[in-house]
Symmetry: C2
């Protein structure tokens, strides 16, 4: 993309309302714009990152056998009256009345609706197991939305729902998602620690939150630091194999959020590994059995010909929140440092001013070559001072910056700078392009 | 995808509420499920088609220089009060009050919001032209939603907005979208006819609807049939070149919707080319100048240093409606016949029952080969009668069906059937796979 054809409204000043790094940088880098309390427009740069996260979440879920559908944002009140949550949910639910005075709501989550879809079509254990997910905008009318996309009101969430005929198989479904989540967060460049969690309004007896560590995290967390170094299951993991072992590797170590914290147990962790920190919840998984299927009468015939309520779990990932979460984990005082897997562009090209036109020619060559190689470069072709271009590139945090100037070109060299390490190397344009395309 | 791992809840009976082919087939093929009046869940098969349409719309817009962002579904009433449309819009606008009693609404369209984004960042003609688009769920509280996704309440729309410093450039922006739309619909397997249209509540002095012909269309349309045979601009079209000529190729022929129909002018069309039919609106483009920029004070400095209201146009495509529109144009009495570009899977594999296991082995080989070739096959591995499998495949309308049976295998042959032509050829499995992967 040529910057002159793009829409990247970078701000010089940090808006006063933003108090944490991710919120500040997302506003300054022209990634989002607030349109109401806790409601944001995703400007082109922000949307690109959001879509990359979404794609990784999707791939890892499908690897674990989940199937995608898409439920609407607007739901009927009747379904929530069936489960008993319509009154319970309180003021966080955005309630809506249509022109015919029907009670509706903007979905904050979808347990009821997916249970309704399930019971309409599935009758037998032979059609199970099933894991259905969607990635859709939700709305929770937070009393005090804050921290930008980290605690917004309209937010993008991936929610998956598993259906099984018996508890043993349902626990396997839970374990599959546990492993898929480890892979997902790892690919996003994050170290996420699963922590035993309270089941809250979703209900059930088994639940883990996936937490990333960041000073600005909303909750205090306590864990064994050994958890930070465990390898994830990885792309070749067999989701039909031994899931239990993969879980036990982690659950053997202490890890709990504030609500579930047991100080005595924590004290048993060797002191040098006792980690007390702040964390950001980026995923949450629940096994809740028949909590929804029973009141909503979602029954299946089991292997013995008996009609039983289907066993369910639900699995959430805060997709839009992750954009902020990744920035909280990956930034310095100049701006964002994107992990390569979610960087909005693969490399930035900055041309210095020149009189001969040689710099433009070299930039064009770099742009064409890198585009053809699928690196999706962002070429700053604006008529701006080098300082402005450099600070824009550092702010938006692309993995590499290729700097081409007239003096260097005379000597046959360009500069290739690594955003994460800050290292700059001088080399010929061809070598720089080869290095980038070989990645 | 193996059907045993998928969620494809095909219905045997046609639901009584569905009166047109697309609605009937979308329900029967397990593409959608109604969750409320005019509100649908997109089941896996339906979502795949929706995403393919979305991807084509996106590609063709970006080829014409548009840049994607994403605005939220929920908007603040204040913006609509600024433009004067808050009261005008009437009961089709879904009005919402949040917990703090703030007036909000579920966006039915985004002229106001995009104008607000524009005025926050853009000050000079140097930053123009600009065309920003998003693909987002909208809500219009239709008094009588009907025909499935053709006239739903929650629907997916692509809306683009162009910004230019003067009228000449703004009309070019309009022409670019006109050409991009021709390419888009062509790639979707549709013949869309641009027709001069009334500007309605959007306003402005120039507008075209893009209409596809179908007996179930909601509006009567009148045109010169010469329009049906005109080639589209195509993938190599130069969007910076002569746009005018491309438009005139079409506007020289008579074409109008009922509201704009001029019977006298129509009578001048040679009788054999005088086409009076029913049509479905799949796109609508508007040039409306400063209708929003003036009241909302979206000003830019022009080349003469004068502050002027920015010239705007808006450009919609009904993405979810197109799923229905394509089916209306492409079906027979057995089911859907997807154009290849939007087919949910490239080919279906049907194995007949056998005792030796040879059929399963051959099916597996076909499945692996076609998957590796990127054809995204759907393998019906269920334990069902051949008749059930055939009728499912015909209903869901994949371009090809590969039928593998024990008798054929003994003779070394399989059957490859073309859904559109109904033609079946017998050939060896390897030849069938080569034929498919060579496409």
């Amino acid at each position: 993309m040529r910057l002159s054809n793009y829409f990247l409204p970078v701000l010089k000043e940090t808006p006063a309302e933003a108090t944490i790094a991710s919120h500040q940088y997302m506003l300054r880098a022209g990634m989002i714009r607030q349109s109401g309390a806790g409601i944001y427009s995703w400007l082109p740069l922000g949307l690109k990152v959001l879509r990359k996260i979404e794609a990784i979440v999707r791939e890892e879920l499908e690897r674990a056998g989940a199937v995608e559908l898409l439920m609407p944002t607007i739901q009927q009140a009747e379904l929530w009256q069936e489960s008993g949550r319509y009154e319970d949910y309180g003021k966080e639910m955005l309630r809506i009345t249509d022109r015919h005075d029907r009670e509706m709501l903007f979905g904050p989550t979808n347990e009821e609706m997916i249970t309704d879809i399930f019971r309409s079509y599935v009758r037998s254990y032979k059609q199970l197991p099933l894991n259905l997910y969607h990635i859709q905008w939700k709305f929770r009318d937070e009393i005090r939305p804050r921290f930008g996309v980290m605690r917004g009101r309209e937010f993008l969430m991936k929610d998956a729902y598993s259906f099984d005929a018996d508890e043993e198989s349902a626990r396997k479904a839970y374990q599959k998602m546990f492993c898929a989540y480890l892979n997902t967060f790892d690919r996003l460049g994050l170290t996420a620690i699963p922590m035993k969690a309270d089941t809250g309004p979703i209900g059930g007896d088994l639940s883990h939150e996936f937490i990333i560590l960041a000073d600005t995290g909303e909750s205090a967390v306590f864990c064994d630091s050994a958890l930070l170094d465990l390898p994830v299951p990885g792309p070749d993991f067999d989701f039909d194999g031994n899931l239990e072992t993969e879980l036990e590797k982690r659950t053997q170590y202490y890890a709990a959020t504030e609500e579930m914290h047991d100080e005595a147990a924590f004290q048993e962790v060797p002191e040098e590994r006792r980690l007390s920190a702040r964390g950001i919840e980026v995923g949450h998984i629940f096994y809740f059995g028949d909590k929804y299927s029973k009141p909503m009468n979602a029954m299946v015939m089991d292997q013995n010909g008996k009609s039983v309520p289907v066993q369910m779990g639900s699995y959430g990932i805060g997709v839009s929140r992750l954009v902020g979460g990744i920035i909280e984990a990956c930034h310095d005082d100049k701006g964002i440092i994107w992990p390569k897997s979610v960087a909005p562009f693969g490399v930035g090209i900055v041309g210095m001013k020149d009189k001969t036109g040689d710099v433009s020619k070299a930039c064009e060559k770099a742009y064409e070559t890198l585009t053809a190689a699928g690196l999706d470069p962002l070429y700053d072709d604006r008529d701006e001072r080098p300082g402005v271009k450099f600070s824009t590139m550092e702010l938006i945090g692309l993995p590499y910056m290729l700097v081409i100037g007239p003096k260097g070109l005379e000597k046959g060299i360009v500069e290739l700078k690594d955003r994460a390490t800050g290292e700059a190397v001088e080399l010929s344009l061809d070598d720089a392009l080869n290095k980038l395309t070989a990645e």
